[in-house]
C-alpha cells in the first residue's frame, strides 16, 4: 500500500496498480475508454488525464494519463484541476465529432459508457459542423450486431477479441479516423466469447443481436441475481424481463468465477424460457390425449395416484435446483429417490468429490486458473464442455512471460508493453485430449489419444514427479518424453494447475489427475485442481445422493414400483428409447415436471408446468462445489410454479399435512440442512427471505423503471399490486432500499452516473477484485485437514484399437450439446448436425469416404449419421456429437462396428 495525494488529500492506494485503478477504487469518477479492468492499460484514448505535481510546492504540474502512471508512494495528482477538466472535455468533444445522431435507435442507449463519460465531462453542445465519416456494417453472426459508424476507436474490441479471447478472425483495418473494426469479410465470428463485445464496446458498435427484435432499455428491465444453467461452472448472470418475457442475459460480475465475461452459450442460451414449447398449464392424459387441466384438478389427480400407488419412485435431475431435488426426495422418501443419472456418471462425480474432499489440492476457481503458471489439461475440451473456463486458461499462459516483465520492472497492468515483451512466448499449457481443442493455439504441447492413454500419460506424469507413484509400463518413448516435460513444467511452477473432468467418462483420467496432485503435494509443491462437470447442478445432485438411473429402470421392470415422478429430466436424452419406453409405459402412473415439451413429457400421464431458472429461486452447486443461489426474475403465468412448490403441494395432497409448513424456500432449505448434512452450508449461500436493508427489500427494478401505470392498462385500468415474493429479500418493484445490497443479492449494476456495465467498479472492494462483502457462494465440500496419502494404483492397460470396431466417444459442442440452450435460435444455427467422425487412415482402411452415410450400433440400437474425417482423431476412436438429435440417449464410450449404409 502507498499513500497518494489526490487534490491534496492523502489516500491509500495499491502501489502495484496505476492511478486510474487507484482513483476508481477510491470511488472517484474519472472518465476512461481504452482501459478495461480485465484488459489493462494502453493509454490510447487520452481520456483519463489528470494533473500530476512533482512536489507539494509544485503549483504548475503537468498532464498525465492516469492509466499509465503507477500509484507509487507520494504521487500527487489533481482530478479537478481546471486544465485537466478542460482537456478531458476536449477529448470527448473530439470523439463525438464523428459519432452519429443515433442514440434514440441505438441499443446501447441508457447503458452506454460513452453517454456516461460525455455527461461526466460536461460536453453537451456540438460545435463541429462538418460531415461525419461513415462505414458499412458487417454481418457478424446471430449474436453480435455491428454498427460501425458509432465507433470511437478505443481498440477495446480487438484487444479483447484477439489478445484476451484468442480469436483471429476479427481485426482493425485502415488508418487515422477511418480505422475499421470487423472481419475481413462478412461472416459469423468464430470466437465462442464474441458476445462479450456487447459489453466490452463502450458504445453501440457491437450490440446484442438477439435482443433487437424485442428490444428494451436497461432501465425498463426487471433483473434478478441469477446463475447460468447451461454448464457446470455457475457463472453469475443478470437476466432481464419485460412484459412477462425474458429479454436478455448480461454478465453479473463475480470476482472468483466469471469476472467480466460470459460465453455465448450462457449469454444467448436462455430463449427456451420464452419458447412456444413451454408447458404453461398442467396437462392430464384423458382418452389417450394430454389435455390442459387446472391446478386443482392436477392436484386431485396426484392425490388419487399417490394414495392408490403401492410404491412411488422419484427421478431427480442434475439441471434442477437442490431444493427441487430435495423436495422430490422428501415426496418419495430417500429409498425411492433416484438421481436421474447413470451409475457411470454418478461414480465419476463421486470420484471428483472424493478428490475435492481429500484436500490434496484446493479446487481452483476460474480466477485462480488465470493466475496459474503451468497447466495440464487432462482429457478435456474445455471450450466445448465448460466454455468460460477456456477464457481463463487462455490467460494462464501469460503468467510465464510475466516473469520477464517483472525482471524489467514493467508493471503487469501495462498491457501493451507486457505483450510486446512477451511476443509469442507463452507459459506451459499442456493439453492431453482425445482430439484437437479450441485452446490448442496457446498450448505448448498437445497430445491426442484414447481416454485410457490420456490416463496413462497422467499416471506417468505423477510417477515422474514422485517415484512412489505407480509406474506405467509399456509407455512409448514419445509418451515418456512428454510426461517428463510435463512433470518438469509442473515441478518448476509457482502455482501448477491440473484440469480434468467428466467429458472423457473415464474414472482413470480423474484418478490420474488426482495422482498428479498427490505427487505434487508429496514433493512439497502446492497445486490446484479443477474438474469440469456436465450440468449446472451435477455436483449438488451427487452431494444429495440418490440411486442411479438404471436402478429406477429395474424397479419398474421388476414391478417393484408402479408410479414414477420425473423431475425436470428428459430421460430420452440420457437412456436408450427401449429403456425409457419400458419405464414410462411399464409404470402405472407417470408424473413429469418440466419446462418444455419433450419426448419424456409427451409420454407422461400428468405433466406439471415447472418454473425455469428465471421464474424460480433455488440453489445450484458448481464444479468447485460452490453453492450459489439464483433468484426469480419474474412471475410466470399463474399455473407455472417452482418444482419444489408442486412437489410440496403433491405431498400435502397425499395427506401429509406437516409439509404445509414449507411456506417458502427458506423452509425447504432449513429442512434440507437437517436431512442432508452435506448440504447444510447451502443455507448460507445468500441472505434469507427475512433480510431487509433499512427495513426495505432489495428492488429488482431500476429506479427509473417506466410504464407502471400503462403496461397493463389495456387489460385493466386499475394497476395490480406488485406481486409478493415470499421466497427472497427481493421485491418485484422499483421501490426498496437504495443501498448497495450484499453481493449475492445484486440484481444489476448501476450507480449514479454509471449506467453501463462499468458500474461494477462501484460494487467492488477494489477494481476487478472481489465484490464488497465477498463474492457470492459458499463451499459445500470441506477439504480434509489430513489428506489421505495413498496413490491410485490401477493404471489402465494401453488402448488397443478394435478389429473392425471403433471406440465411440461423445464430442461436446458449445452450441448444440446442451439441452436447454438448443432452443435459442442462434445456438441452433451454430450447432452441428449429426455426424460420426473418424481418423482419416481408419476411414481409408475401412473404405469410407467423407459424407458417406454410415451406421453404428450401440446396445442393440442402430444409428445413422454422415461421416466426417478428422486427422486429429486417434486411430481406433470414432466420435459422435453429444446430445444432438437423433444421436441421443446413447451411453458412451462404447464399441461398435461402423458400416456404410447402402
Amino acid at each position: 500500500m502507498a499513500i497518494i495525494y489526490i487534490d491534496d488529500k492523502p489516500h491509500q492506494a495499491d502501489a502495484k496498480q496505476n492511478l486510474l485503478h487507484a482513483c476508481l477504487s477510491l470511488g472517484f469518477n474519472l472518465p476512461y475508454f481504452c482501459w478495461h479492468p480485465a484488459l489493462g492499460s494502453v493509454g490510447a484514448c487520452r481520456q483519463c488525464a489528470v494533473k500530476q505535481f512533482r512536489t507539494p510546492d509544485d503549483k504548475h504540474g503537468h498532464l498525465v494519463m492516469a492509466c499509465m502512471i503507477p500509484a507509487v508512494e507520494g504521487t500527487r495528482i489533481s482530478i479537478h484541476d481546471p486544465e485537466a477538466v478542460a482537456f478531458r472535455a476536449g477529448i470527448i468533444e473530439g470523439m463525438m465529432q464523428n459519432h452519429p445522431h443515433d442514440c434514440p435507435v441505438c441499443d446501447e442507449g441508457g447503458e452506454c459508457h460513452l453517454q456516461d463519460m460525455t455527461v461526466m465531462t460536461g460536453h453537451n453542445y456540438r460545435r463541429y459542423d462538418f460531415p461525419k465519416r461513415t462505414f458499412r456494417n458487417q454481418y457478424l453472426g446471430p449474436f453480435v450486431n455491428h454498427e460501425m459508424n458509432r465507433c470511437i476507436q478505443c481498440y477495446r474490441c480487438v484487444r479483447f477479441y484477439r489478445e484476451y479471447a484468442g480469436g483471429n478472425d476479427f481485426n482493425v483495418f485502415g488508418i487515422r479516423n477511418t480505422a475499421y473494426f470487423g472481419r475481413y469479410q462478412d461472416g459469423v465470428l468464430e470466437s465462442e466469447f464474441a458476445g462479450n463485445l456487447d459489453e466490452v464496446c463502450p458504445t453501440g458498435v457491437f450490440t446484442d443481436a438477439t435482443h433487437k427484435h424485442h428490444y428494451t432499455r436497461k432501465w425498463d428491465l426487471q433483473f434478478a441475481p441469477s446463475v447460468c444453467v447451461h454448464c457446470g461452472l455457475g457463472c453469475n448472470i443478470s437476466p432481464g424481463e419485460r412484459y412477462g418475457t425474458l429479454r436478455r442475459i448480461v454478465n453479473r460480475y463475480h470476482g472468483d468465477i466469471n469476472g467480466y465475461f460470459l460465453c455465448d452459450r450462457g449469454r444467448h442460451g436462455s430463449e427456451f424460457v420464452n419458447s412456444d414449447q413451454r408447458i404453461r398449464q398442467a396437462r392430464l392424459r384423458r382418452n389417450g390425449q394430454l389435455q390442459a387441466v387446472s391446478k386443482a384438478e392436477a392436484l386431485e389427480h396426484i392425490r388419487q395416484v399417490l394414495t392408490s400407488s403401492s410404491r412411488v419412485i422419484g427421478i431427480g435431475s442434475p439441471r434442477a435446483s437442490l431444493e427441487a431435488n430435495f423436495a422430490l426426495r422428501a415426496a418419495v422418501g430417500e429409498r425411492n429417490f433416484f438421481a436421474g443419472i447413470f451409475q457411470r456418471e454418478l461414480r465419476l462425480l463421486n470420484r471428483v468429490l472424493d478428490v475435492l474432499r481429500n484436500g490434496l489440492a484446493p479446487a481452483a476457481s476460474l480466477r485462480e486458473m488465470e493466475n496459474s503458471d503451468a497447466v495440464l489439461v487432462l482429457g478435456e475440451d474445455v471450450t466445448n464442455y465448460a466454455p468460460r473456463m477456456a477464457l481463463s486458461l487462455r490467460q494462464s499462459v501469460r503468467q510465464g512471460p510475466m516473469a520477464m516483465a517483472d525482471k524489467l520492472k514493467i508493471p503487469h497492468w501495462l498491457d501493451h508493453s507486457v505483450r510486446e515483451l512477451a511476443q509469442d512466448s507463452k507459459g506451459p499449457l499442456f493439453i492431453a485430449s482425445i482430439a484437437a481443442t479450441r485452446l490448442d493455439d496457446v498450448a505448448s504441447e498437445t497430445y491426442h489419444a484414447a481416454p485410457d492413454e490420456l490416463a496413462r500419460l497422467g499416471f506417468a506424469v505423477a510417477h515422474k514427479l514422485d517415484d512412489n507413484a505407480p509406474a506405467v509400463s509399456g509407455l512409448t518413448l514419445e509418451q515418456t518424453a512428454l510426461a517428463e516435460r510435463i512433470a518438469q513444467a509442473l515441478r518448476s511452477a509457482r502455482q501448477p494447475l491440473i484440469v480434468s473432468g467428466l467429458s472423457c467418462h473415464s474414472t482413470a483420467v480423474i484418478s490420474a489427475a488426482a495422482n498428479i496432485a498427490q505427487a505434487l503435494r508429496r514433493t512439497g509443491q502446492p497445486s490446484r485442481v479443477t474438474f469440469t462437470v456436465p450440468e449446472c447442478n451435477s455436483v449438488g445432485l451427487a452431494l444429495l445422493g440418490g440411486r442411479p438411473l438404471e436402478d429406477a429402470f429395474a424397479a419398474v421392470r421388476n414391478r417393484a414400483a408402479d408410479t414414477v415422478i420425473v423431475l425436470e429430466n428428459d430421460l430420452y436424452r440420457r437412456a436408450s428409447v427401449q429403456d425409457v419406453d419400458a419405464l414410462l409405459l411399464g409404470a402405472k402412473h407417470v408424473i413429469v415436471l418440466d419446462h418444455l415439451t419433450n419426448a419424456t413429457s409427451t409420454k407422461a400421464e400428468l405433466v406439471l408446468p415447472a418454473a425455469t431458472f428465471a421464474e424460480s429461486d433455488g440453489t445450484l452447486v458448481n464444479n468447485e462445489a460452490r453453492a450459489q443461489r439464483f433468484f426469480q426474475t419474474f412471475v410466470p403465468q399463474p399455473d407455472v410454479q417452482e418444482s419444489w412448490r408442486w412437489l410440496r403441494d403433491a405431498i400435502i395432497a397425499s395427506g401429509r399435512q406437516d409439509f404445509a409448513a414449507w411456506e417458502n424456500l427458506d423452509h425447504v432449505i432449513a429442512s434440507m440442512a437437517v436431512e442432508v448434512p452435506a448440504l447444510a452450508a447451502a443455507s448460507k449461500a445468500a441472505p434469507d427471505a427475512t433480510f431487509r436493508m433499512s427495513g426495505a427489500k432489495v428492488p429488482r427494478q431500476p429506479e427509473r423503471y417506466s410504464g407502471r401505470t400503462a403496461m397493463l392498462a389495456n387489460i385493466d385500468l386499475s394497476e395490480p399490486k406488485p406481486p409478493d415474493d415470499p421466497d427472497s429479500p427481493l421485491s418485484f418493484s422499483m421501490e426498496g432500499s437504495p443501498d448497495q445490497p450484499p453481493s449475492p443479492l445484486i440484481p444489476f449494476a448501476w450507480s449514479p452516473g454509471w449506467n453501463s456495465y462499468q458500474a461494477w467498479n462501484k460494487f467492488q472492494e477494489e477494481i476487478a477484485g472481489p465484490l464488497r462483502g465477498g463474492n457470492p457462494g459458499v463451499p459445500l465440500v470441506e477439504a480434509a485437514a489430513q489428506p489421505q496419502q495413498e496413490y491410485v494404483r490401477d493404471v489402465p492397460a494401453p488402448f488397443q484399437p478394435g478389429d473392425g470396431e471403433w471406440l465411440i466417444v461423445p464430442f461436446y459442442h458449445i452450441f448444440g450439446s446442451e439441452e436447454l440452450s438448443i432452443h435459442s435460435h442462434g445456438v441452433k444455427q451454430l450447432s452441428p448436425g449429426a455426424y460420426l467422425a473418424m481418423n482419416d487412415k481408419d476411414a481409408e482402411r475401412a473404405r469410407l469416404r467423407p459424407e458417406d452415410r454410415i451406421e453404428f450400433t450401440i446396445a442393440a440400437i442402430s444409428y445413422q449419421a454422415a461421416l466426417k474425417v478428422r486427422a486429429d482423431l486417434p486411430q481406433g476412436i470414432a466420435a459422435i456429437p453429444a446430445g444432438i438429435e437423433p444421436l441421443q440417449g446413447i451411453q458412451l464410450p462404447d464399441w461398435s462396428r461402423i458400416v456404410r449404409v447402402a
Binding site: V105, H213, Y243, G707, N714, L717
Partner: protein, 171 residues
Amino acid sequence: MFSIVRTLWDVFLHSFQRRVTRQYPEQPAYLPPRWRGRIVLSRDPDGGERCVACYLCAIACPVDCIALQATEDSNGRRYPEFFRINFSRCIFCGYCEDACPTYAIQLTPDFEMSEYKRQNLVYEKEDLLISGTGKYPGYNFWRVAGVQIDGKDKGQSEREEPPTDLRQLLP
C-alpha cells in the same frame, strides 16, 4: 336595510353588463398552440411514423403512464410495436414532448376527452397516431441519424461523407 337595497340594485345593474361566462361548448375557448392537452404521435414529412420507440418519453413520464415496445422492420427502421398512454393517469406535464428526440410525441390544444368509462381513456397507437407532422413540420429523424434504412444508404444522411472505402491505400 340600506345595504340590502344597495345589493339588489347592484345585482340588477349587472344584468345589463357584458357576460363573463363563456358559453362553452357552443362558444369554443381559444387555446394557444402550445397548450398541453391530448397527446398525439405525429408522422414525418414523408408520411412515415416519427416514433422510433426510444423509450425516452416513457422514462421521462413522472406518472409512468406511457408503455411501449420497440420493434424493427426488415430494413432497420425502428418503430413501436404498441404504444399506449393511460390518459386516466396523465398529468399533461409535457415532459414526454420535451424528451422526444424525433418530435414524434406532441401535446395538442385539445382537452375534450372525457369518457363515461375510465377504460376508454387508455389510448393505443392507432388512437394516438395522426396523419400530419403536427407542430414541427420538416423534421425527419431518419435523415439525420447514421443508421441505414430502406431508401437511405450509409453516407446519405445529412452532413455525412460517403462510406469509407476500406481498400484504398491513400493516407
